[in-house]
Amino acid sequence: MKGRVLVVDDDLALSEMLGIVLRNEGLDVVHCANGSSAMTLFRESRPDIVLLDLMLPGIDGIEVCRRIRAESGIPIVMLTARTDTIDVVVGLESGADDYVLKPFKTQELIARVRARLRRGDEPEPEQLQIGDLVIDVAGHTVKRQGKSLSLTPLEFDLLVALARKPRQVFTREVLLEQVWGYRHAGDTRLVNVHVQRLRSKIEHDPEHPEIVVTVRGVGYRAGPP
């Protein structure tokens, strides 16, 4: 596995440990200990993935997450010690793709990072249609009437997963496995939050979605093309 990881965490021992583990996996690690310098380091180091602690001195993790998201769609994985739904959801809504709960197992963290970095394999040229959107899978673009919509890679993957099998209902668990790479049960809130983010970008009226439709008690499916 190749790539550069930006670790933003104020706990030095944990940062060092993260560095050891990630370097063992063959990754390049850049460390940042506070929120204020995170953006500068982000721009300088141009990482492939960011591991972000939510509680930071200076600017807090949520804000850092929002700023990174404003500039780039690169994968962000939150490290959080707060398990309350509100904390997790706020983190996800600020733009994180995934989260790992402290204390995490090394394997779990590596799996999450790997899943976010895996998107390397060049996909077949493929064109999909969902609603009035045209998806160019190889080109990573989504267009509505020729106008490009800006999606993060994760949102793009989510949309492609739904569009590849229109009319099929995906449970949240299946989406977690296909899009996030969870082999065992993950947190279905991830799916809920990201579907909402996706809808806010692609739906005409996010309150009455027509492209990503909720199937009550089951999950989601793509709307009629």
Partner: protein, 574 residues
Amino acid sequence: MFTWSRPINVTRSRIAQLAPPLERHVRAARSALQRVARWLLHLWRSSLQLRVIVSTMLLGLIVVLMLGSYLYQRIADGLVNDRIITARAEATSQTLAAQSRFDSAGRMDAVSLTQLAFDVVGQLSSPGADRSREVILTRAKNNTGPASVPTVLSGDVGLPSVPAGLRTAIAADPTHQQVQLILISSVDGATVPAAIVGSRVTLPAAGQYELYFVFPLDREQQTLRVVARTFSLGAIALVLLLGGVAYVVTRIVVDPVRRAALVAERLSSGLLHERMGAHGEDDIARLGKAFNAMADSLQEQIRQLEDLSRVQQRFVSDVSHELRTPLTTIRMAGDLIHDSRHDFDPSVARSAELLHNEIDRFESLLSDLLEISRFDAGAAVLDVEATDLRNTIVRTIESTAALAARRGSRLEVIPTDRPCVAEIDPRRVERILRNLVANAIEYGEGRPVTVQLGVNAKAVAVSVCDSGVGLRAGEAAMVFNRFWRADPARARTTGGTGLGLAISREDARLHGGWLHAWGEPGVGSCFRLTLPRHTGTVIESSPLPLRLPKERSAPSPASESTSSPVAISGVAES
């Protein structure tokens, strides 16, 4: 005749047509009346003010009526007595005058005597048309002499008006005046009370005659009528005044009470800053001050509790964060050492294994403790999502399959075709079920564990039953206690924290659901989770019984339904 019958028929049929609307009107009127009566009754019950005013006015009316009629009676008596006294005096003097005229007349023939009698009667009656005095001269009852002088009347009042009793009394006692009250008819036809005074006069040659003076009491009656009218007006005014006074007084008292009630209602609905106005030093002001003091202390206590709860939540959150970060480092370091334990000598390698396992245990204990304290602080929130419980069960079975395989237990799910969609927090429910299944495996002695799903109109239920050691009497209630263990001597194998069932019960409670336990030593135990299908609704009954499934509790040959257990995971899987 035929020509007549038609119109009559027409009229009848028209009446028949009219009857239903009429009936409807009557019914409508009656229901309207009932509504008004109910409304009045409600008003009477609900308004203290109305009750006070109405009672005051009623009591006032009774007192005024009693007082008025008493006074009226006294005035009437006084007026009549006065009139009788003057009537007597008048009659005495007039009788004397008449007698002296008769005496001075000397002997004369019947014609002249009759003429004299007419003259005297004419003089005796009141002059003018005011009829304040009428005179009757008639022969005494016991005068048996020749009727030379007929009965002489001065006006309309005739002899029949003179009561027989009066005449008898005069006959019995001729020397005294006799007085009686009678009714005479006046000019306009109405009857008027009158005083009649009778006495005896002696006419020359004609003998004993009775002379009656009739004094109509119409002027007195007039006066009494005016008095009565004045009294009635006074009574009405007085009662109205009483009502007004009662209204004002009750307003003074009831208004602050109503304000207090309003403020109390607003307080109880959560507006803790609401206070009563308390001015002055009267009872009402004291009520207001006491009320405000109560509200102050209530608000203060609530604030303290809120602070406490906030501090507690904050503390839990901080501890959570502060402990978790170093634990993460320890855990990662432990993992690293554990992964490379083969490079160490055996004792260090074993130490690395112990370290690794104990970090797991420490972590689950920490997270359970934090979870419990989150419940205690009231910081736990439900993250509700419409979920089919069949999926939840499948996931639970998947995640506990490895444990079941290690312990040699078979997990059986009694399948159901009905969707069991309920508004639940899937993470919490899965945690409960995982916990129940893990417990059933732990205490199931390697025998199969049965998971059953049930649904009714209002609730869904999952029961997890095992045929293991079971529960002794009284233990079913204790299993949910924190750190409770059935048998302290029993070796702990799955490394439970002792908080699992306590957390499960809290999770169930958070849903507004139930978690029940049943067990019998040596037979097995059964845990049943019942959750409302819609958040906020109250469960009435659980769709599942709290006992072992039939196939195992009673070894009957075959089950009547298709609910034969299906093995989800077996020993083979690992």
